[in-house]
Amino acid sequence: MTISILYFGMLAEATGHPSETWEATDPLSVGQLREQLLQKYPVLRDRKFQLAVNQQIADSAMPINTNAEVALLPPFAGG
């Protein structure tokens, strides 16, 4: 299945791009995707980030469906 990944702020900087298309095996949980991302981008290991799936903050157990939009969000700085 195909999902779309978005990187924001310092994470776009760390990975070198703001988004990419990700080919993954189905089923896939948020926790499993996080592991795969850390494998591809070891630089993310020492960064704090949360994952949002379809614009909702997601915990590790949440399943990711095909065509999902997954965003990697560094610490918030609004205000």
């Binding site: 978005l6 924001f8 702020g9 310092m10 949002a52 614009q55 909702q56 965003a71 969000l73 560094p74 610490p75 918030f76 700085a77 609004g78 205000g79």
Partner: protein
């Protein structure tokens, strides 16, 4: 009382000007059930960092999600507090030191609701809205990423 709270435009390009704030205030003078307005303005500080002084913050956001979260915060505040109206504005792009990047404006018949809602809304924004800030330092192109506490 506003009964339907349609999503409102929150993001503005660059700093929020004092004139924009006074225009917002002036618009509320016809709402004569309002007795209390509480306003919060977040202003960019010239903090001292390794490498120099902060000269501004460059804001970016996951805008689609941010707009949803702003809407949820707005709905929750109307449910919790007895408000007449509420407005939230946040900058995107560069906001130089000394200028305003966040403007929260809550209005109610009596003062307590406006105090409580103001704090609630500002804290929720800081904690939950996916906005990112690059603090620009000195004159040499250095920066650090801001993180809310």
């Amino acid at each position: 009382m506003e009964k339907t709270h349609t999503p409102k435009k929150v993001f503005v390009d660059g700093p929020i000007s004092p004139q924009f704030i006074s225009d917002s205030i002036a618009k509320h003078q016809s709402k004569t059930n309002i007795g209390a307005h509480s306003l919060f303005l977040g202003q960019i500080r010239a903090d001292q960092k390794d490498g120099g002084v902060v000269t501004g913050i460059e804001y970016t956001a996951y805008t689609e999600m941010a707009e949803k979260v702003f809407h949820d915060i707005r709905e929750a505040a109307f449910a919790k507090f007895d408000l007449v109206c509420m407005h939230i504005y946040h900058s995107l792009g560069l906001v130089p030191t000394g200028e305003v990047s966040l403007f929260v404006f809550v209005s109610s018949a009596h003062r307590r609701a406006s105090f409580e809602a103001l704090e609630y809304v500002v804290e929720e924004i800081k904690a939950k809205v996916p906005i990112f800030g690059k603090e620009l330092i000195g004159e040499t192109g250095e920066y650090t990423w801001k993180e809310n506490k």
